[in-house]
C-alpha cells in the first residue's frame, strides 16, 4: 500500500502504524458512563469495503491522521 501522509505525501505503508477504527467519537474526557466507554472501546463494525481508520506516520513525521481504506482490496480512498 501507498499511504498519503498529510504532511509528507505518498509513502510506503511500512513507514506507518495502524491505529484502529476512526469512525467512532471518543467519549468526552471525564465521561464516567460505563456503557458509553464499553461501546466505544469494545464494539466495532467489520465492514467488507471502505473503512475509515487511524494511521500514524510513525517512521516519518509522526503525524496521526484519518484514512479511508478499502478493507477488502486495500484501495486507498484518501484522507478522511
Amino acid at each position: 500500500m501507498i499511504i498519503p501522509c498529510p504532511w509528507c505525501g505518498d509513502r510506503d505503508h511500512s513507514e506507518f502504524r495502524y491505529g484502529g477504527d476512526a469512525t467512532k467519537d471518543r467519549p468526552k474526557h471525564g465521561t464516567g458512563d460505563l456503557k458509553e466507554w464499553h461501546d466505544y472501546y469494545f464494539l466495532f463494525d467489520n465492514p467488507k469495503g471502505p473503512h475509515t481508520e487511524y494511521w500514524q506516520h510513525v517512521l516519518g513525521c509522526r503525524r496521526w491522521f484519518r484514512l479511508s481504506r478499502n478493507i477488502a482490496t486495500n484501495e486507498i480512498g484518501g484522507l478522511a
Binding site: 502504524r17 476512526a22 460505563l34 487511524y54 496521526w64 482490496t73
Partner: protein
C-alpha cells in the same frame, strides 16, 4: 541407447565457448547458451531423476520454468541449493549439479521398491494411514516417509552468498518479452515513459527463441536493439516477477548465478526488487500441457514444444524417430522443425478432421499423420522404446521420444494475485484472466491470443494504453514482421483418453498423482478443487502444478458430470516460481537482522568489562567483570555494592519525553491515574498510565522543570508505545490542549547513583553543587550546570536505597560517567549492570515490564490506592467494569522460597498447596532473584486472589525440568517498608 544428439550447426549456443560443468561427480560438457537441461540431453542423459513417491524413472519434460521432473541439487556444502529446475539453470563453468531422490543413482535406484508398494502411496495415503490405525502411527512412519518420498535436501550451513534487496519505480512494467511483451515495451518506451521489461529467461524473445524463422528473428533482434537504445527503458533478463501486490507493487527476483558472483567482492548472487509501477502490462505467455495416458511419464516423453525448443534453440534433437501426439495445430510447427533436423516424425492427432493444409505441410517434410489417433501405452523400462497408438491407427511405433501437444494454458498467475479469479474460455480450452485492475493490462498468449501477428498487435495496443494511462499519450505503435500469417489453433480438448494401457497415467508428474488418484478423491467425496489439491497433493510441488492443474480440474469435472468453469480453479498465490530464502532475506541477516540500539555509554561498558544482554533492540550492560565472571555470582556482588555502599548504573535506555505547553500539567493529569496538576516545580512524581480499557500500559516518573515544561521517563520496553499514545491523544482527540511532546530517549543519557553513600558520591563529584537533603529532598529535581554542561539531577530510587539519577546530553555521557567514578573512587563506587538493577527492584517490590504485561489492572498490581478518587483519568470508567473487579483476579504477590536447597525459576506455574500439579495453575512467577538482604530466593508473581492469601504456603512447578518448590506468599515489599532509606 542413444535418444538425443547435438546438431552440427545452428542453435543459439556459442560453439566457440565450450563450458565444463559437473553432473553427479562426472564432467558434463556443453556450450555457452546451454541450460543444464539442454546439456544433459545433448549428452544423451535422458533418465535423470526419480519420482517423488514411486521412484519411477523420469526425464526432462519441458524447456522452461514449468519443469516438473528435472530438478537437481546445485552447488556443494554451504552453497547447496536443492530442487532447482535444470530447464532454467544456465550452464556455466564450474556448475555442480547432483540428481535427487535416488540412491545410489537415478539409473539404479534402490528406492524404486516404492513402485511395488504403490498402493500405499495413493491419494489420501497420508491422511488415512497415518491418522490410524493406532495412536502414534505418524510418529512411527514419519522417518520412513521422509526418507523415501521427497526431493532434495537443503544444507544447514550458513549461506556464504550475498543477496541484495532494493526499491525501484517506473511508469510501465512489462512482464515477459515474447512477441506481445516486446511490442508492449517498445510501444510504451517510444512514448517516453520509464519502462522496465522483466524477462525470466536468459534472453529476450519468449516463443521467438524457440522458432526457426529468419524474418521473426530479425524482428526480435531489431526490437531488442531499439529497446536497448532507449534511455528511458531498462530491460532485464533472468528476472522473474514473483508476485504482484497492492498498489502495483511487483516483486522481481534477478538470478546472477551464471556470473559466479563473489560475495567477498561485494557481488550479489540474487537481487530482489520491490518495484512500484504506475502501470503493469502482463505478457506472460502460455505453457504447453502434457496429455494423460498410460505410462506418460517414461523418460523421453516430453512436451512437443520443448522438443522444438531443444532442436531450434539448443541444437539438440532426437536421435532418429519421434512420435507427436496432439489435439491442436501447434504440434505441426514442432513436427516440421524436428523433421528439418533429420528426425523421422509421426503425428498421432486426436482430431478426426485436420485441416488439409497441415496434411500437405506435413507430407512435404515426410511426416506421417494419423488422424483420430491417440496413445494407448508407452513401453520401455528406463526410457521410451515404443509407442502403442490407439484409435483409427492402432499400430506400434519404435521411437526415441514422444512429444505431447495437449494445448496451451495461458499463464494467468500474476493476473490473479490481486484476487481476481481466472475465467474459462471455451474457444481455447483454457483459463484466461478474469479481469484486471485499472492499472493493469494483459496481452498476447496469456489472454488466449495465440499467433505472432496477433500477439504483437495485442502487445502494442496494451503498451500504448498503459503508457497513456501513466501520462504518456503520444507514441508510435509497433508492428509485426511483414510476412506473418498466424496459423490456426483448432484445439479439441481430450481430457481423459480411453484407458488402453495398464500403466499409471500421470496427471501431476512432480507429485506423482495419477488419474486413479483423482478418481479416488472423487469417490471419497473430495469434490472441490481445493480439496482435490490437498487430498492428492496435486499441484503442491515446486512447479505448483503449472502443467498439471487444468488436466486434473478437467478430470474432476468429468467425474462430477459438470463443466470445467463449474468446477472452478484453485487460487494462485505468490511466489510464481521457487525462490531462495536468501533473496527474501537480502542483507537482513546476521548482525543486520534487526537494528541494534546502543546506549551513549556503550563504548565505556565495552572497554570496562561489561557483558551485554539483549533487551528488545538494546544492548545493555548485564554485569561487570569486577564483580565476577558469571551472571549468577556477579549480580549478587553488585547488589551488595548498592545496598551497602554506592554503585553507578546506566539507565539511558529509559524512554525520555519532553512535554511542553501551557496545558502540559492538565495533559499529564489526564493520562496518569494520579494527580499531576499540582506537582510543584522542582518535584518528581511516580505515575501510572492506563489504556482506555483500564489496563496498565506503563509506569514511570515525571519531573516538573517549569510551569509549562515536564520531563517524563517511561520503561525501556514501552518508550515507543507511550510516545505514540501521547501523540494519538493530542493529535486525534484532545486538540483543545496546547501541548507538544518530543522524544529525548536518544538525545539524553541517564545514570543512577544508588546506595547509602550516594550523596557522598555526588558531593565528591560536584563539590560546588548543594545536594543536601534540604536542597534536593526525596523526589526533588534540579537542573544544574557543571563545567558548562547542564545536568538534570533527580532524586528518586528504583532500588529502594538513597539514590539519584543524573541525566545529561548524550555527548557528555562518557566524560560525566568517568568523572563520577573517579571523584567517588575513595568511597569504592563501581558500575552495576541490568541484572543487579532488576534484582534490587524485585527486593523493593517495584513492578516492571514483566509485571506490566498489558493484562493487569491497577488493583492487580496493588496500585489501586494511587488513583485519584475525584480526578478524571484515562481508563477510569472501564477500570471499574465487573471483570476488573473480580476478587479472584491474578494479582501481585511477593514470594519467598521455603526450601533453601532448591532454586526458583521465572515462569514457574503456581498452585495452591493441595492442588493437583496440572494445567495452568493459579498464577505464575514473573520475576525471581536471590535476595542479599534476606539470604534466600524471592520472587514477584501473579496469584489468584493475590494478597488475600498472604502467609499461605503454595507450590511453584516448573514442568520443563520436573521441579517443584514450596513458597510462602508475602508482601511484595521485601525491604524497608517505612522508606527510611529513601528519605535518608
Amino acid at each position: 541407447m542413444k535418444r538425443f544428439r547435438r546438431l552440427a550447426a545452428d542453435g543459439r549456443i556459442d560453439r566457440a565457448r565450450p563450458v565444463g560443468a559437473r553432473f553427479d561427480g562426472k564432467p558434463l560438457q556443453g556450450f555457452a547458451g546451454d541450460t543444464l537441461a539442454s546439456a544433459l540431453l545433448a549428452n544423451n542423459k535422458v533418465l535423470v531423476a526419480r519420482s517423488f513417491k514411486y521412484h519411477r524413472p523420469r526425464g526432462i519434460v519441458s524447456a522452461g520454468i514449468e519443469e516438473p521432473n528435472g530438478l537437481f541439487t546445485l552447488g556443494e556444502d554451504a552453497t547447496t541449493e536443492p530442487n532447482v529446475a535444470a530447464t532454467v539453470t544456465d550452464l556455466y563453468d564450474g556448475l555442480i549439479a547432483r540428481s535427487q531422490n535416488a540412491w545410489p543413482s537415478p539409473d539404479f535406484d534402490l528406492m524404486s521398491v516404492n513402485s511395488l508398494l504403490s498402493p500405499l502411496f495413493q491419494s489420501g495415503f497420508y491422511y488415512k494411514t497415518f491418522m490410524g490405525p493406532f495412536k502414534g502411527s505418524w510418529m512411527f512412519y514419519e522417518p520412513f516417509i521422509r526418507r523415501a518420498a521427497g526431493l532434495g535436501t537443503a544444507t544447514d550451513l550458513p549461506d556464504p552468498d550475498r543477496y541484495e534487496t532494493r526499491y525501484e519505480f517506473c511508469d510501465v512494467l512489462v512482464i515477459g518479452s515474447g512477441p506481445a511483451g516486446l511490442a508492449a515495451a517498445l510501444t510504451a518506451g517510444r512514448s517516453g515513459a520509464r519502462v522496465i521489461l522483466a524477462e525470466q529467461d536468459s534472453d529476450f524473445g519468449g516463443s521467438l527463441l524457440s522458432g526457426s524463422d529468419a524474418e521473426h528473428e530479425a524482428w526480435r533482434t531489431a526490437s531488442v536493439a531499439e529497446l536497448q537504445g532507449l534511455d528511458n527503458v531498462k530491460i532485464r533478463t533472468r528476472t522473474t516477477v514473483q508476485g504482484l501486490y497492492d498498489a502495483n507493487l511487483a516483486v522481481l527476483v534477478e538470478r546472477r548465478d551464471h556470473l559466479k558472483p563473489n560475495a567477498r567482492k561485494g557481488q550479489s548472487r540474487q537481487i530482489l526488487t520491490s518495484l512500484r509501477a504506475k502501470m503493469i502490462v502482463m505478457a506472460t505467455g502460455s505453457i504447453e500441457r502434457p496429455m494423460v495416458f498410460s505410462n506418460n511419464d517414461r523418460p523421453g516423453v516430453m512436451l512437443a514444444s520443448a522438443l522444438r525448443t531443444y532442436a531450434n534453440r539448443y541444437a539438440v534433437a532426437p536421435e532418429k524417430r519421434a512420435v507427436i501426439v496432439t489435439n491442436n495445430d501447434s504440434a505441426y510447427d514442432a513436427a516440421v522443425d524436428l523433421a528439418k533436423a533429420g528426425v523421422a516424425v509421426t503425428i498421432a492427432d486426436h482430431r478426426a478432421t485436420v485441416e488439409a493444409s497441415h496434411f500437405a505441410r506435413a507430407a512435404s517434410h515426410g511426416i506421417a499423420v494419423f488422424p483420430a489417433t491417440g496413445i494407448a501405452d508407452v513401453e520401455g523400462a528406463k526410457g521410451i522404446s515404443r509407442v502403442k497408438l490407439s484409435g483409427a491407427h492402432a499400430v506400434s511405433i519404435d521411437c526415441d521420444v514422444l512429444g505431447m501437444a495437449g494445448g496451451w494454458s495461458p499463464v494467468v498467475h500474476l493476473s490473479s494475485h490481486g484476487g481476481i479469479k481466472p475465467k474459462y474460455d471455451e474457444a481455447i480450452a483454457g483459463f484466461v484472466p478474469g479481469g484486471f485492475a485499472p492499472t493493469q493490462f494483459g496481452a498476447g498468449a496469456m489472454m488466449g491470443v495465440f499467433g505472432l501477428a496477433a500477439a504483437v498487435a495485442d502487445g502494442a495496443n496494451a503498451g500504448a494504453k498503459a503508457a497513456s494511462a501513466a501520462g504518456f499519450g503520444k507514441t508510435r505503435l509497433v508492428y509485426p514482421p511483414e510476412h506473418v500469417t498466424d496459423r490456426t489453433y483448432a484445439i479439441l480438448p481430450v481430457w481423459s483418453a480411453p484407458q488402453h494401457g495398464k500403466g499409471k497415467a500421470f496427471v501431476d508428474f512432480q507429485s506423482d498423482v495419477t488419474t486413479k488418484d483423482v478418481k479416488n478423491a472423487h469417490q471419497e467425496g473430495y469434490q472441490s478443487v481445493e480439496h482435490l489439491k490437498r487430498y492428492t497433493t496435486l499441484g503442491m510441488g515446486t512447479d505448483q502444478g503449472k502443467t498439471s492443474n487444468i488436466n486434473a480440474l478437467a478430470l474432476m469435472a468429468e467425474h462430477r458430470g459438470i463443466s470445467i468453469p463449474e468446477a472452478g480453479t484453485t487460487t494462485f498465490r505468490p511466489p510464481y516460481a521457487p525462490l531462495t530464502m536468501g533473496a527474501i532475506a537480502g542483507r537482513t541477516v546476521g548482525a543486520h537482522f534487526r537494528p541494534v540500539r546502543r546506549s551513549p555509554l556503550h563504548d565505556w561498558h565495552e572497554k570496562n568489562g561489561a557483558t551485554f544482554i539483549d533487551a528488545g533492540l538494546w544492548k545493555r550492560a548485564w554485569y561487570y567483570a569486577w564483580a565476577g565472571n558469571s551472571p549468577e555470582t556477579a549480580y549478587v556482588k553488585e547488589m551488595e555494592l548498592v545496598r551497602r555502599n554506592v554503585g553507578l548504573s546506566d539507565v539511558s535506555t529509559l524512554g525520555k519525553i519532553d512535554v511542553q505547553g501551557p496545558d502540559a500539567a492538565e495533559f499529564l493529569n489526564r493520562i496518569y491515574v494520579n494527580g499531576f496538576a499540582k506537582l510543584p516545580v522542582g518535584k518528581v512524581r511516580y505515575g501510572v498510565m492506563l489504556n482506555d480499557d483500564g489496563v496498565v500500559i506503563d509506569d514511570g516518573t515525571t519531573a516538573r522543570i517549569s510551569d509549562t515544561q515536564f520531563y517524563m521517563t517511561t520503561t525501556t520496553a514501552q518508550a515507543g508505545e507511550v510516545m505514540s499514545w501521547l501523540e494519538y491523544l493530542l493529535q486525534c482527540h484532545w486538540t483543545e490542549l496546547n501541548v507538544q511532546v518530543a522524544s529525548l530517549t536518544d538525545e539524553w543519557a541517564g545514570m543512577a547513583v544508588s546506595g547509602p553513600k550516594a550523596r557522598e558520591a555526588l558531593k565528591l563529584a560536584f563539590p560546588d553543587i548543594d545536594v543536601s537533603n534540604e536542597a534536593l529532598p526525596y523526589m526533588g529535581c534540579r537542573d544544574v550546570v557543571f563545567e558548562g554542561v547542564t545536568l538534570r539531577l533527580l532524586r528518586m530510587s528504583f532500588s529502594g536505597e538513597l539514590a539519584y539519577e543524573v541525566h545529561v546530553g548524550a555527548d557528555h555521557a562518557i566524560p560525566l560517567w568517568e568523572h563520577i567514578l573517579k571523584a567517588a573512587a575513595p568511597l569504592g563506587i563501581r558500575p552495576y549492570g541490568l541484572e543487579a538493577l532488576a534484582s534490587l527492584r524485585i527486593e523493593k517490590g517495584h513492578v516492571a515490564g514483566l509485571e506490566l504485561d498489558h493484562r493487569n489492572t491497577l488493583d492487580d498490581l496493588g496500585l489501586g490506592k494511587m488513583a485519584g478518587k475525584e480526578k478524571d483519568y484515562v481508563g477510569k470508567a472501564l477500570r471499574f467494569r465487573e471483570d476488573c473487579q473480580s476478587p479472584d483476579r491474578w494479582s501481585l504477590v511477593g514470594l519467598e522460597l521455603m526450601e533453601p536447597d532448591k532454586k526458583l525459576r521465572g515462569g514457574s506455574i503456581l498452585f495452591a498447596a493441595n492442588d493437583e500439579i496440572k494445567g495452568h495453575g493459579r498464577g505464575y512467577i514473573t520475576s525471581v532473584t536471590w535476595s542479599t538482604e534476606l539470604n534466600k530466593f524471592i520472587a514477584l508473581g501473579l496469584f489468584q486472589g493475590g494478597l488475600k492469601h498472604e502467609g499461605e504456603e503454595i507450590v511453584a512447578a516448573f514442568p520443563l525440568r520436573n521441579e517443584q518448590a514450596k513458597l510462602k506468599i508475602v508482601s511484595p515489599h521485601f525491604i524497608d517498608h517505612e522508606g527510611a532509606r529513601l528519605n535518608a
